[in-house]
């Protein structure tokens, strides 16, 4: 009996080995091209082929699908190898493994949206020391870990786009209100202060009558919108610089009698806002374009890898169709003004 068990043990082990070697062979076959290209890579030391690894917070996220699509197009236009890797869930420890892998493969650059500003630090430092350039986008790490941060939008740009947009929709006069996230959210308060300055300077006939806080909770934001309309019967417009707030406000407006009379704008995502733009509740709202963000990050990474720039303030490079960019303070490149999403272009976006 023991002999049989022993035999079976060996047989099961063999079965496992066979399955596994099959799996490995299959993947090896599928990746035959990369195998040869990495051979070439080790051959030419000075003229290393461009290989850029995109590492989003997690895979299967429509926002990053859009940015990585932009990156892929840019890298391929430059004749480089693009790859997208990442964890299933947005956890820092899982990102570290992918940074390590890219460093082992001596990738030219890693383009990363960090899940933790510090936890990926030592892995990035190690990757940098083996010659890989580090570009962060969307979500930055601490500055010493990366060569360049591609910032999606400046606070000034975000504030101005929303104020100017709403002013245009309401004829540059009347009462407006702001539906924010929470009263102590740093970025929200910075934007609101800048909006107030913009209103004072450029839109003297618009009066900000109220600022309410929906705490980035759908139901609270919905209720606060209802209260705003009740308390201010002459309200002509609402700005909600938060994706949760604008969606809840749009949902309230779309079924209320104020639909079409009270304008709504702010920061939102096309997938959340699509039906409200199509039914006329919202004319235009804003956010940066993640595809452009990915494109710019890819060009920045390529410029660093080629030695065209080093990432210091004042460095200039060209990002394909997006045009010329200059590195600003703190090794940061700014994408530019937010993109407006309206009936004409919302169909082009899926995130």
């Amino acid at each position: 009996m023991r002999t049989l068990t022993r035999l079976l043990d060996r047989r099961t082990a063999l079965l496992g080995v066979a399955t596994l070697s099959l799996a490995l062979t299959m993947t090896a076959c599928g990746k035959a091209d990369t195998g040869t290209s990495s051979d070439g890579e080790s051959g030419g030391s000075g003229d290393k082929p461009l290989s850029i690894v995109f590492l989003p917070k997690n895979l299967g996220n429509p926002y990053f699908d859009a940015s990585d699509a932009g990156g892929k197009k840019a890298v391929e236009a430059l004749g480089g190898t693009f790859s997208e890797v990442g964890p299933q869930t947005a956890s820092p420890d899982a990102q570290v493994q992918y940074i390590n892998t890219a460093a082992q493969q001596h990738a030219s650059a890693i383009v990363l949206s960090a899940n933790d500003p510090k936890a990926v630090g030592s892995a990035l430092t190690q990757a940098k020391s083996s010659g890989t350039k580090i570009v962060t986008f969307d979500s930055d790490t601490e500055a010493q870990y990366r060569d360049l941060f591609v910032n999606q939008a400046s606070p000034e740009g975000i504030a101005k786009a929303q104020v100017d947009g709403l002013a245009e929709q309401i004829g540059d006069s009347g009462e407006i209100a702001i539906l924010s996230a929470s009263a102590n959210a740093t970025n929200q308060n910075a934007w609101i202060d800048l909006m107030k300055k913009d209103l004072q300077a450029d839109h003297p006939d618009i009066k900000l009558v109220d600022t309410v806080y929906g705490n980035d909770d759908d139901q609270t934001s919905f209720d606060k919108t209802a209260a705003l309309l009740k308390n201010h019967p002459n309200l002509k417009g609402i700005i909600s610089p938060t994706t949760v707030g604008i969606a809840a406000a749009a949902r309230y407006l779309s079924t209320s009698k104020s639909k079409g009379k009270v304008a709504l704008t702010g920061l939102g995502t096309p997938n959340q806002m699509r039906k409200f733009v199509e039914d006329g509740t919202v004319t235009e709202f804003y956010l940066w374009n993640p595809t452009d963000l990915g494109t710019l990050a890819a060009y920045a990474a390529a410029a660093l890898a080629n030695g065209e720039i080093t990432g210091k303030e004042g460095d200039k490079f060209t990002a394909g169709d997006l045009g010329d960019y200059t590195v600003g303070a703190d090794n940061t490149v700014l994408l530019g003004d937010p993109t407006g999403f309206n009936k004409d272009n919302i169909g082009d976006f899926d995130f």
Partner: protein, 350 residues
């Protein structure tokens, strides 16, 4: 009736390893390593070895006591939450200016307390460990996230965080592995070469019978849960220092990785079977395989599919083995029953 047998103690450990299911896991590990070494670019670098070992250290540490717990037929699902809680405690103390040695010690004691709570509820109150540790999984994680909120503590002294990435000479083996080697030796001695360890197998095969043969079932279970708590806290300290970041949500979901590796290493989820060398090989197998697949550019979903399949196949092979030996056993019994019957007739005919 299934026939449960003791592992054949008549053979020394090395023989049992050579002929057991552990041999399959170890062979697979060697094959993957050799395959990777000769076929996958960069797999042969010492850096790869470093990364695999550093990546798997937390799982390796927790897998040691987890094996013992599963061999008794119990389970501890709260380990990843203990990692998170000890990380949060460590971070909170460092944030408030407590020195590193004292902060680490407190984090470790936190793990001991977590283990005592689990152990008390399972061993002395007699609740099922599955239910208890699902509860404490949520409880400990809740406390951890409550302590730090959504913030992370990142200001750990560099000479401490460097400890986790330091390597022995040019070997590529992380220095911290020495701690693991010592712990592994202790746990192997405990499980495979001590009366306490034989008691653990006895409990896994039949707690009632173990009680009758003089094994203190309650105390044994209590000790094992305290051990998982303690080693999880040690893993939490390592995790925190390695990433230089203490967060309440650190290592979420790690318990499933640990249990998967333990089962892959040949431990039966029903208790009574399994050996530590197989488990260690199982953990390294998962580490080496994922590293090899990542270097080949395989996406995370496919890696998970392959590791999942491997686990199912390995569990299946154990059941298949037990089933076949069951059939063999009952057939042998039937033979034994049948054989004496003709004897009297043959006697009478004489």
């Amino acid at each position: 009736m299934s026939e449960r047998t003791y592992p054949s103690y008549t053979h020394p450990l090395w023989r049992r390893l050579l002929i057991g299911r552990e041999a399959g896991v170890i062979a697979l590990l060697v094959i993957i390593w050799l395959y990777g070494y000769s076929n996958i670019p960069y797999f042969g670098d010492t850096l790869t070895l470093t990364y695999i070992l550093v990546d798997m250290t937390t799982v390796l540490l927790i897998a040691l006591p987890m094996t013992l717990v599963i061999v008794t037929g119990e389970i501890d699902l709260s380990v990843a939450s203990v990692v998170g809680l000890s990380s949060a405690v460590l971070g909170l103390l460092v944030q408030h200016g407590v020195g590193m040695p004292l902060a680490c010690l407190t984090a470790l004691v936190t793990g001991v307390i977590c283990g005592v709570v689990n152990g008390f509820l399972v061993a002395y109150v007699g609740l099922p460990s599955l239910a208890v540790t699902i509860g404490t999984l949520a409880l400990y994680r809740g406390i951890a996230v409550g302590l730090l909120g959504t913030t992370a503590v990142t200001d750990f002294p560099a000479n401490w965080t460097e400890l986790t990435s330091r390597v022995l000479g040019s070997s590529g083996i992380p220095t911290f592995m020495m701690v693991f080697v010592v712990l592994a030796a202790i746990f192997i001695a405990l499980l495979h070469f001590s009366p306490f360890g034989r008691g653990i197998y006895d409990i896994g095969l039949s707690p009632e019978a173990a009680e009758f043969t003089g094994v203190n079932v309650q105390r044994t279970k209590m000790i094992l849960f305290v051990l998982t708590g303690t080693l999880s806290a040690l893993a939490g300290i390592f995790y925190t220092l390695r990433f230089g970041s203490a967060r309440g949500d650190n290592a979420t979901g790690l318990e499933l990785q640990v249990i998967a590796a333990v089962l892959l290493g040949g431990v039966s989820i029903f208790g009574g079977r399994g050996k530590l060398p197989g488990v260690i090989a199982g953990v390294l197998l998962i580490g080496a395989l994922s590293s090899a697949l990542r270097l080949e550019g395989v996406t995370v979903n496919v890696i998970n599919i392959i590791i999942g399949l491997l686990l199912v196949l390995s569990v299946l092979s154990t059941s298949l083995l037990a089933w076949v030996s069951d059939i063999r056993g009952s057939r042998a019994r039937r033979h034994r029953v049948q054989r004496p019957t003709p004897t009297p007739s043959s006697v009478s005919s004489q």
